[in-house]
Amino acid sequence: MVVAVAEDSRGTEQARQWIEQAKPTYWSLIDANHRVADLYGMVNVPQAVWIDEAGRVVRPAETAGSTDHFRRMDLKTRTMTPEDQAARLAARKAYLDAVKDWVLTGKHALAADTARDKQPRITVDIALAHAHFRLGTWLRRHGKDAEAVRHLAEASRLHPDSWNMWRQAADLEAVGNAGGPDFWARVKALGDRPYYPPPDLPGFGR
């Protein structure tokens, strides 16, 4: 069963058009408080977790088929080279093929020790960041914008690896900001570090 969760602090109406286009037969849920990202240690979208029939995590949070090819996008024309587009599609297919293999045969599920090692490590700062993010989004929702911005900024300062927190805060400032010049500058500042670390699955050379 697919459970698709929208990490969208603006809530239902923001997610509605995308969900209605997809006409999903699976669960499509709205997570305004980024609860799932908190619980599973996620930092970006799309990230996915694989859970077996016994309710155990068999693949901790990892990039769900996206790649860093977008970083080479021509920002004026907003296009990628044909080679990059093809590589991007191949990666998405490789990830979805792995998911299908797992569903049909159990392949790619990690043994408990390996899964445990791959779980994200939550630091004191990250735990505090989640608390600031929760307060900041609540304050936004209740019209206390200046105070909200302080807490959302503190969340990102404490958990700089969380693109979810930073981009959500930007989007709450104004729809579209999450993909604006500040976003591209922050991506560029990654340097050689990945935006979407690839999963350890077939088709993802590391």
Binding site: M1, V5, D8, W50, D52, E53, G55, H132
Partner: protein, 129 residues
């Protein structure tokens, strides 16, 4: 009145002097019960310092921090966050049980992850931004 944001959701309670709550409200909000031994949940009890309990009331902020969890509030001290500390989060991740949650769909119908026990679940996230 104070609004308290926790893992479970949002509650409005009467609070004085910060986050001093009645024992009943403290239990409702935290899931821990005030007993002579301290604050207790299941088989565990955490002693409370004398400064954190008085006349059947509990300093929930002090108790929550004693558990190793972050506590935040807005400037007016009217909205509080009782967060989850790093140790608690890492323990939950280490035991590999998929943390449960309940979220609404577009129609507002609530769905709980654990209802899918017995099936493989591909849990994925996305965003409009």
């Amino acid at each position: 009145m104070a609004t308290i944001l926790t893992e479970a959701g949002e509650q409005v309670v009467t609070a004085v002097d910060g986050l001093w709550l009645t024992a009943a409200d403290a239990e409702r909000v935290t899931g821990w019960t005030l007993k002579p031994e301290g604050m207790c949940r299941d088989d565990a009890c955490v002693p409370l310092p004398a400064s954190a309990t008085r006349d059947g009331r509990v300093d929930v902020a002090a108790f929550w921090q004693r558990l190793g969890n972050p506590v935040l509030h807005d400037d007016a001290a009217e909205t509080w966050v009782l967060g989850l500390g790093a140790d608690a989060r890492n323990d939950a991740l280490a035991d590999l049980h998929a943390p449960d949650f309940t979220l609404p769909d577009l129609d507002g119908t609530l769905h709980t992850l654990s209802a899918l026990r017995g099936r493989k679940v591909f849990l994925t996230t996305w965003a409009s931004w």
